[in-house]
Amino acid sequence: MKKLLYIPLIAAAFIFQSCGEEFLDSKNLYEKLDVDYYKTPQDITEALTAVYSCLATDAGNQNMTLMANILSDDCLGGGGQADYLFHDLDRFATEAGENQFKECWETAYRGIFRANMIIYRFDQAEYKDEVERNQALGEAYFLRAYFYMKLGQFFGNVPLITKPEPVNYPKASADEIFGQVASDFKKAIELMAPTKFQNIPVERLGHATKWAAQGMMARAFLFYTGKYNKTEISLPEGGSVTKDQVVAWLDDCIANSGHGLLPDFRNQWPYAYAGEHYPYAKNNNLQWVGEEGGNNETVFAVKYSPYGNFNPAGVLSYCNQLVLYCALREQPSLIPWGNGWGAGPVNPLLWQSFEDNDVRKKGSIIDITDPEEGDVSEEYIWGGQNANGVEETGFAQKKYTPITIPHPETGAVVSMFYILYGGQNNMQLWSMQDEILLRFPDILLMAAELGSANAQTYFDRVRTRAGLASKPVSLDAIKLERRHELAFEGVRWFDLLRWHEEEAALTAVKNFNVKNIGIEEPYTGIYRSETNGFLPIPESEILLSEGVLEQNPGWIK
């Protein structure tokens, strides 16, 4: 029995080597800790970059410009048979599920969260240069305002979250949302320096500027006051943004920003680059102005790159999918028009609404029967090679469509951007055209519409550039001018909403045939006025909010 005494002794000596808690500590080698971050200008730059990256969506079919085009009377749904999202947008339906617009919702809130983090932690950032500091903070306000404006335009009332915390808020009123938007844009305008476009280093292309903030402020103001029948925006911190103030900002932008109109409307679109390979460009001696700083007409744009890819998830957003989705659907090589998914075929009535001498008519729309449009007039395959395309009208937009031409070295037909910047030789990944969110003519027309003293001058500048004669400025004239100048740029739908003309516009889209997988069928536009023109909030959000969020009118099950 004495030996039994050894048992605990031996057990203790042999077994219990204690190594303490530090054995269980581990380090994250690939991520920085949030508590140590948002302290240096470099941190803020990186954090801002991550907000900018939310301007692009991974799911190309939820590109906001594309969605707004299809919602409007400029484009039909199109795409392939199974591209329900386009058809649903076109018909105000949710056939393909109640979560189908989740990605654009989610991307916007992702941007808002990241901007909130910057704004919330900005005090701890240490800057030496006050101008740089104000610019960075101004950009954060600008981006947050932009995302809330887009949410307000697409979904109506949405939860308004201004702190980086997980909260479950009910929908805010339009007054609250646009009050916050105006407040943020105002801060952005006031914080950012009035540096002329030409004096901003080209390395900063893509960053928001004071001028972009002034333009976006006008857009928000017009939308809110129009849609909700208001005269001014009340700010949450008190005071308000008035029409006069907005006009003053626009006048300032027009006078001092250095932005202006290019001499030829068409030279800002990539087809101008196709030159000798494209009869229309050749005949009109078009010269693409490029995206490397020479285009002072672009006030704010989403920047893309050759680094889009299918893996890892999310990186498709690095290339311009608006272009891929809007391109002619699955055609053989039709120089200069590259292939894509055929979303948003152009309403033939829009084509007819242009005056023939308006350079923007052929400058914005491909008529597939026109020999000047290249191979397309002879070799176009209705429905695409997969015989799967629907709602084809024979018209496609040419502002955002891939330009493919023979490679100067190999002769292979590839994207012009692939020739310029390399990247992947893959038609799904090679589009990297800037997606312009604000163009100078828009600023001119908004100023005219808001009643600037220079209204007639501004209006005529836009018309003259299009090759048209002056005419007296009026709201109706501005409406038509906006439609023609800004077609396919994601602006039209929100113009219709604020003018309360969406129902009339959509129900007028009729009395023509489209081809569904090559079969001719009549088309009639559909609008459901009970939706007020807003999309449904993703159903999963309604469920996850445990009833705090309510579905939008017209979409309640």
Binding site: K3, I7, I10, A11, F14, I15, C19, E22, F23, L24, D25, S26, N28, L29, E31, L33, D43, E46, A47, T49, A50, G80, Q81, A82, A96, G97, E98, F113, I161, P164, P166, V202, E203, R204, G206, G293, S305, Y307, A313, V315, Y318, P332, N339, Q385, N386, N388, Y421, G422, G423, N425, N426, M427, Q428, N516, I517, G518, S540, E541, L544, G547
Partner: protein
Amino acid sequence: MAPQLGAFFYEKCIFDKHISPLIEQFLPLLILFNAYIYRTNSNNKINLRPMISDLFKQLNQRNFIRSHLFLILLLAFQVAAFAQGRMVSGTVTDASNEPLPGVNVLIKGTTVGTITDINGKYSIGVSKTNDILVFSFIGYNEHSVVVDNNAVIDVILKEDILQLNEVVAIGYGVQKKKLSTGATLNVKGEDIQKLNTTRPIDALQGLSPGVSIQQSNGLPGSEARVYIRGIGTIGHAKPLYVIDGVSADNIDHIAPSEIESIDILKDAASAAIYGSRAANGVILVTTKRGSKNQKPMISYDFYNGWQSVYKDPGLLNAQQYRDIVVEANENSGGKPLDFVKTVPNWDKIESGEWKGTNWFDEMLTDNAQVQNHSLSIIGGSERSTYSMGFGYHDEVSILGPQGNNKYKRLSARLNSEHIVIQSDGRSILKVGENLSYTNTKNPTFRTGNIYWNDLHNALVANPFLPMYAEDETDKAYPYHYAIAWNSADVNPIALLEYNGKYNTNSNNSILGNVYAELEPIKNLKLRSSYGITAGFGSSRQFTPPYELATRTVVAQDQVTQRMYQNFTWTWTNTASYSKSIGSHNLTAVVGNEMMRNSVNLQLSGKNEKSLFGDFEHAYLYNVTAIDPTYTTLSGRDDYGESLMSYFGRLSYDINETYLFTAVLRADGSSNFDEGHRWGTFPSLSAGWVVSNESFMQNVPFINFLKVRASWGENGNKNIDKFQYLSSLSYDVAAYYFGPDKTIQSNGAYPARLPNPNVSWETSEQISAGFDLHIVDSRLQLVFDWYQKNTRDWLVLAPALATNGTAAPYINGGEVRNQGVELALNWNDKIGDFRYGVNATVSNNKNEVVEIKNDEKIIHGPANVLSQGTGEMFRAQVGYPIGYFWGYETDGVMQNEAEVAAYVTPENELYFKDQVPGDLRFVDQNKDGKINDDDKVMIGDPNPDFIFGLQFTADYKGFSFLINANGKAGHQIAKSYRSFADSPRQNYTKDVYNRWHGEGTSDRYPRLTFKTHRNMTNISDIYIEDADFLRIGNITLGYDFKQLLKRLPIEQLRLYVTARNILTLTNYSGMDPEVGYGPTPWASGIDLGLFPSSKTYMIGVNVKF
């Protein structure tokens, strides 16, 4: 000891802070090792007992140096003499008078022993008349005889039919099977080996009630899906595998011939000793080891097999396909299809001269060979035992790129154990090791979703597309380019070849441990074991430039190289003690374990434009131009995972009749935040051997009856790391400021909402059952019932998108698995004819009990069966995990009258465009709309029943085996083509079941060329019952030793085997065993899954 110690030095933490206690711990071993050396060299017998006793005294005083010196002195002087007396000899035979070679004969209480020779004869020297000879042999009852004055003792050993004295592995120890109180299952290596499966786990199919073993796909080298007692989580639901005490991801790399036995711990009480890793059950593998005084036995096994596909998918040929697409096009009102313009050589198809390309046949390798060699040597001397094994497996995959479609596995194993110090027939110190090395090479074949599946590609490619280019001399592009008929349709063989042929990989794994076991006083065993699992490997790929369709272009050749390395060590120390006092028997184990995954290195590089442009030279060294748009490099080494544990088990019984076991394990894991790291996992179990009771002695037909019950809790710690931290991510947050689109600015954002409280998943299980042996123990019956609740699932529960960043893992779900298991075993012998039947059946019901969000759902993805189809499976409260979610259909509208009758409660047509041939979707809520609210459970991929049946028979050297297994009560969602969006994909002959006129079908709708709700709506027409019974193995063998008795070998068995030759099922697809699902918790989705093959093989087993 040196290597063992040395290995620790890799870990600085240990070295710095823990080396001195370590030396303290190992010093005694070093001392005893010295003693051993001394004794071996001098051939002396020494009595170690007083020495040990003194050693401990010294240990107590913590004066190691002194004790060491003291011992060496002691050893130098002490010599023990050993007396030998007269000789006893005899013959050992079995009941049928056949001599038994290899029987252990031992003088009780000593280490003096011998073994019988090939004729069953032995002779042994005894010293006293009251010496007792103990005869023992595996599979036979032990027999003891008092020597008395006999010179000849012949013995007949009886077979141990009950095998109750057999010991089974239970985790950190072994236990007599009859004393087990949990639900465990023991399968012997020989039963696994004789089924000749590539993966050892497959041999358990049908033999293991309650264990679902399902191939993920039939590609050799792919991992099987194993669930014990139902799927317990939507996260990591794999069981824990432990090979000779070292945990591993799976056991697929072990050659079946190297396995001694597999033990499956199914209930929580049995598994609780593995704590935080045991929530999904534990599978223990013991590899072969030699036994004492066993002459070297050499076994060589070889088989060669020929595999073919079990069932052809039945693709349409060009003419059949033409007829079907014409019909579909007409149904959609399309203008006539222009074949002449879009299909090359249309006249040859029109005339029937050319039947088109059958892409499945083109992908198939006929008579794909499988070859297996295994060689093993097992033996032992009085003090050392060893086992060495070498295996080589070479299997051609039935589908794959010609020339590079082999799975190869080369394995080597060495297990040995040495008694270093022995005294009075008792080993004082044992050391040993188990070491295995495996090298595998996997074939290249994509088996995934509809965009990542080579077989699916072959099933959907249209038969109009010729295989080769018209001008086959074109070396650059010998394969045919996509044709205008369907420009998206890429030559699947070309794609497979370009992406899979120029590829090689080599994967190495080393797994093993070294251990020492000290038994300073009888029945107190102190064991220390250091185990490693290490993996390293590399792969290399060359993709030639190719152009197969407008969208399938690789302009420049590509070279990819990858390599990885990982290393995990486990240090386990246990002390066990057993003691019997009267009728009270007690066994206790306490232990400590540290595990650390310390290296997880991965490097990869990809570049384009190689200098040589061929596979042979496809190394990154030969591709030098760096261009950020096509050069990718990545390298990372995850900061490892640590686990620290303390555990104990107490087993107590009275008279081997009343049995109790209690287990407690505490685990600390680095996956969680401080304060949430430690978990405690208790269990209790009890058993009552009713048949030992006196009142049962009058019930002669019951030979053995034990009832068991257990309760326990286990954990699951497997989640992504650092979920408790709020950290910044640089993933997918770049932007492109400035004039140059190739200049990237990196962005950072908070990666997730942290959840510092994230902690274990816990599975709590109660289990009860009985073991019954009747009819002279010829019939053995094992029954179990269980209820397993896995709660606090580690889930990425959907959170509000307005949060703006990813949701963290939360402990937020619970599933209940409940079921019964029954195993029946009948063994009998009629003269020389011996036969056995083994039947198992188990039932499991899986139901999600809780998901912690308002929706109570975790959604599956969309676009699974086809682009353009919605979510089709989900985990939802009240339903089984991964159930199929969709519309119920009510047949096909046969005529206009039925079309007019398919109306809403308001008497309106459900669809304005409904026509005969369309499906009637059931409006479950009668709201006049067919929408998501009408979707219901239309199928469940989790089987209700798993069953197996095996019959074996032996007669005078002949042996026969037939084995069948099956599953029932589950469904498969099948779609071999994308019905929703791809009208020009090929069909299988299933299409002939479509509706094409009144009365032709009441299940499948008319065909359409346009996308139609008939097919885009996921409904029960995609779902099929998948009950099946598969004849897994039929083997007939003969041992030629029976004929040629003089052969100097023990066994020369030749056999023929047919594997998977018959599957009884109503399922229409290629294979009813469908493990694929797009998420780890989904299964039963058949998009054209690599089918298992039918194999005929011949083989030989030779033993010397």
